[in-house]
Amino acid sequence: MAEDSQRQLRGLYRNVKISVKTLDTIIIACILVIVVLLAIDLQNPGFTITFDSKGGTDVAPQNQMYGELLTVPEPPTREGYTFTGWYRDSACYEAWILESDTIQEDMTLYAGWEKNP
């Protein structure tokens, strides 16, 4: 494209001096980056679910695909406490229901404990 047919950019781009050719290169480069990243990531699918037993016995992490249920993990034990279930947040407000909640992302589940009387 001839130099004289180029227009001065306005607005937020008003100081940008760039040719259409360079822009094309940037666009193609960006798309390549996206495609390559996707290709790399798709080699390694699946989500990792880790368990924070918060002082109890360790629970092994699991690898599951999107939309699947967790394999019911061995409940951890802890001296002087009763295990109340797995929770999405460390404050133990939102319970993870093993029978119905499906995996949407990488996550950590936290153990809930109740002090024995």
Binding site: G11, L12, I31, I34, D41, Y66, G67, D89, E94, E105
Partner: protein, 360 residues
């Protein structure tokens, strides 16, 4: 412009008359100009083949609810972009308003209730709370707009500072009354029902009420942008502020109002965000403005200023959400999502400039 079929026929005729070299260039142009949409289409087809449950009603319902949640923020920010500005304070404004809405609408018998002497949660109080948080959002927008309009400061600087100030207020708010920064949870059932309750079911997935609110809000914004003097003034100021001033547009008032309207949108987004994520933490809304800005740029709200359509913003939000829903379904690691987002924004900006430069 009115009839797309005639338009298409005209383009086809023009294309017939071109010589071979022009034809090739015209094809390259249209491929490059629509590169993001083409990429998305290929990607969606790939996902649909790999994961058959991507093409189910449930997944459509999921997409609709996500779009409804992200749309208000994009609609607000789009106004600032039309004025060749931007708004970096949007995410934190959502965080603050979500926190205020959450605290005002906690369960009355919740053990960690932050303020004890609040009215009982009923529809009236929920509406009052919504107005309060919309007003808080609008005040943040008003501050942005005032400094941008009065001192011609760059919106990046002004909104960056309000972003930080708002975050400070959020942190301070979370440590009130011995809360010590804990997330705000125990939202009342009435509030959850009002925002996230089931409107109807699509497949097995419930469509919440806030989808309806998003539709109403979009219609309202379309009306403001296309049918009011204020909307026309906004586009005039965006494409050339000096020319607009000369032809009698109140540039100061228009700029302030655009930012205030955007702020009100953030307030509304905050109102639904608490219910959407179940609880409100100090980090709620972090970086939400990035998604909104990206959606606007993808949807053709140009940084050149003075151009943009509501339909474009909806398309932008849908494209962005579709990509993310597909990526999560394919199980792509969330860390590379950020790189992809960045590449999409850079690509969309380059496309935006390219369209402006190549247009005759």
């Amino acid at each position: 412009m009115a009839n797309p079929v005639t338009n298409l026929r005209k383009t086809a005729e023009e294309f017939q008359r071109m010589d071979a070299k022009d034809k090739r260039r015209s094809i390259t142009d249209s491929i490059l100009n629509n590169a993001l949409y083409i990429l998305m289409l290929i990607f969606v087809i790939y996902t649909a083949i790999k994961r058959p449950n991507f093409l189910t009603l449930g997944s459509l319902a999921n997409l609709i609810t996500q779009v409804a949640a992200y749309l208000p923020l994009a609609l607000g920010i789009a106004g600032c972009i039309v004025l060749t500005g931007t708004d970096l304070s949007a995410g934190r404004a959502v965080g603050l308003t979500a926190a205020v809405a959450g605290v005002l609408l906690q369960k009355s018998d919740f053990a960690n209730k932050m303020f004890q002497n609040l009215p009982a949660v009923n529809t009236g109080w929920i509406l009052v709370t919504m107005l309060i948080v919309i007003a808080i959002g609008a005040v943040i927008g008003l501050v942005n707009g005032f400094f941008v309009a009065k001192f011609s400061l760059h919106p990046f600087i002004v909104t960056l500072s309000t972003q930080l100030i708002t975050y400070g207020i959020i942190l301070w708010f979370f440590s009130l009354n011995g809360n010590n920064g804990q997330p705000i949870s125990g939202l009342s059932a009435e509030y959850k029902e009002f925002v996230g309750g089931t409107m109807f079911r699509l497949g097995n997935v419930a469509i919440p009420w806030y989808v309806l609110y998003a539709v109403i809000l979009t219609a309202l914004m379309w009306f403001i942008w296309n049918k009011t003097t204020f909307g026309k003034n906004m586009f005039a100021v965006g494409s050339n502020a000096e020319a607009a001033r000369v032809s009698g547009v109140n540039v100061f008032l228009t700029t302030v109002l655009v930012h205030t309207l955007a702020g009100a949108m953030y307030g509304y987004a905050g109102f639904i965000e608490g219910v959407r994520s179940g609880s409100v933490a100090a980090s709620t809304g972090l970086n939400a403005e990035c998604d909104a800005i990206a959606a606007c740029v993808i949807g053709g709200v140009s940084f050149v200023g003075g151009t943009g359509k509501i339909s474009g913003i909806i398309l932008g939000v849908v494209v962005l959400r579709l990509i993310f829903v597909a990526l999560t379904m394919l199980g792509v690691d969330s860390s590379s999502l950020f790189i992809i987002k960045g590449a999409i924004i850079l690509c969309a900006c380059a496309l935006d400039m390219r369209k402006y430069l190549v247009r005759k």
